[in-house]
Symmetry: C2
Subunit: 222 residues, 2 copies
């Protein structure tokens, strides 16, 4: 393995361990030694990548938005819907993402850590998509993209929190489906409404498809 | 002051101090001594009312839903809307409520403290109101009261969180107004829609009215 590739893997292993520990213990109670033990890396390797607990928390926070990655869809509203379901699905099982979300919603992070960053990053990212949807004629003329997007981002944050508190996030897909059923009629043009897929298992189906594609790609390799 | 009244005041002073300390430090980092210092009561008085940090946290959590109290309204959907704005407004300035909300959204509370209680209590409380609205013919036939209510409760939790992270809750009224503009068309019968007051300052206006009423009552006392 090349030196650079090894460094990338080590960094990732540390981030994943840190996410899991932050999720279980919160920012204040997490110590570097807990992360070291979980990641099974040397102290030197950890400090090489992350000089402090703050920088580790910031890196975990910065990993959040990429978890919303989904295949592009010709209908940009569907792509936004897909993002919510895929992200929700990943949140059910990925400890790095769970830790990142806990750091976002907890008020415990010190001033040096921008725990509100993911709110802003999510909003900026989805506003771009919703403006594309607007250009394609998918939106009602009353929609103000930034307002709608900040509502969706805020609502998502609370819905996953409530789902976590009541069912360990088991019913998150269903709750997202209810969200979309309530807000889409105020966002999408009527002709589009009935054609958007907002079923609770949307996220699971997209992820299964992505995995199949990956297997096919691997088999095609020489 | 009668003995019982003094006990009630002491209990309240402890709860308010605890709320403020929990809001600032979170559950894990809060100590009984911090609360003692803030409340300016004796250790004996505190332990008389709350035998442990867990019981103190539980009592702070149990205080949450009463902060949504609003004057009854003939239109039950308006009463639910009012509740959200008044509660949001109180959340901007009341340390006990702020602490209670932090305990609800933080994952840090130990198994002995039911931090998901407020989610359930809110849902049960608002479902009752929404079922009254249903009986009065205020709702579209497609509405499933519990689903709609859990969406509203979850969304509120996240919206206040995002508002707190980005503006110290300064824009919470505006964000609630955006929420209602998006979901009411999927909830209310068309004839009611245009008549509901969902302006960002709705909470401030109701609270001002309540204060005026209280002043009038006090002046009328012999």
């Amino acid at each position: 393995m090349a030196k650079q590739e090894r460094a990338i893997r080590t960094r990732r292993a540390i981030l994943e361990a840190a996410g899991a520990v932050f999720d279980e213990h919160g920012y204040a109670s997490t110590t570097i030694s807990m992360v070291l033990e979980r990641a099974e890396v040397t102290k030197g390797a950890l400090y090489f990548h992350f000089p402090s607990k703050e920088s580790l928390a910031q890196a975990v926070l910065d990993e959040q938005v990429p978890f919303g990655a989904v295949p592009p869809h010709p209908c940009k509203l569907q792509e936004i819907v897909d993002m919510s379901f895929v992200y929700g699905r990943r949140l059910m099982s990925n400890p790095l993402l769970q830790g990142s979300v806990r750091l976002t919603v907890d008020q415990a992070t010190p001033p040096g850590v921008d725990h509100s960053g993911p709110f802003r990053q999510w909003a900026d990212h989805v506003v771009e998509l919703l403006e594309e949807a607007e250009k394609q004629g998918e939106l009602l003329p009353t929609v103000v993209p930034r307002e709608t997007v900040e509502l969706l981002v805020g609502s998502f944050a609370g819905i996953q929190l409530m789902s976590r508190a009541l069912t360990g996030r088991e019913d998150l897909g269903h709750r997202l489906s209810v969200l979309w059923a309530h807000v889409l009629p105020s966002i999408a043009v009527p002709g589009l409404l009935g054609r958007l897929d907002t079923a609770p298992d949307r996220g699971a189906r997209i992820l299964a498809m992505l995995e199949e594609d990956e297997e096919l790609m691997q088999r095609a390799e020489p």
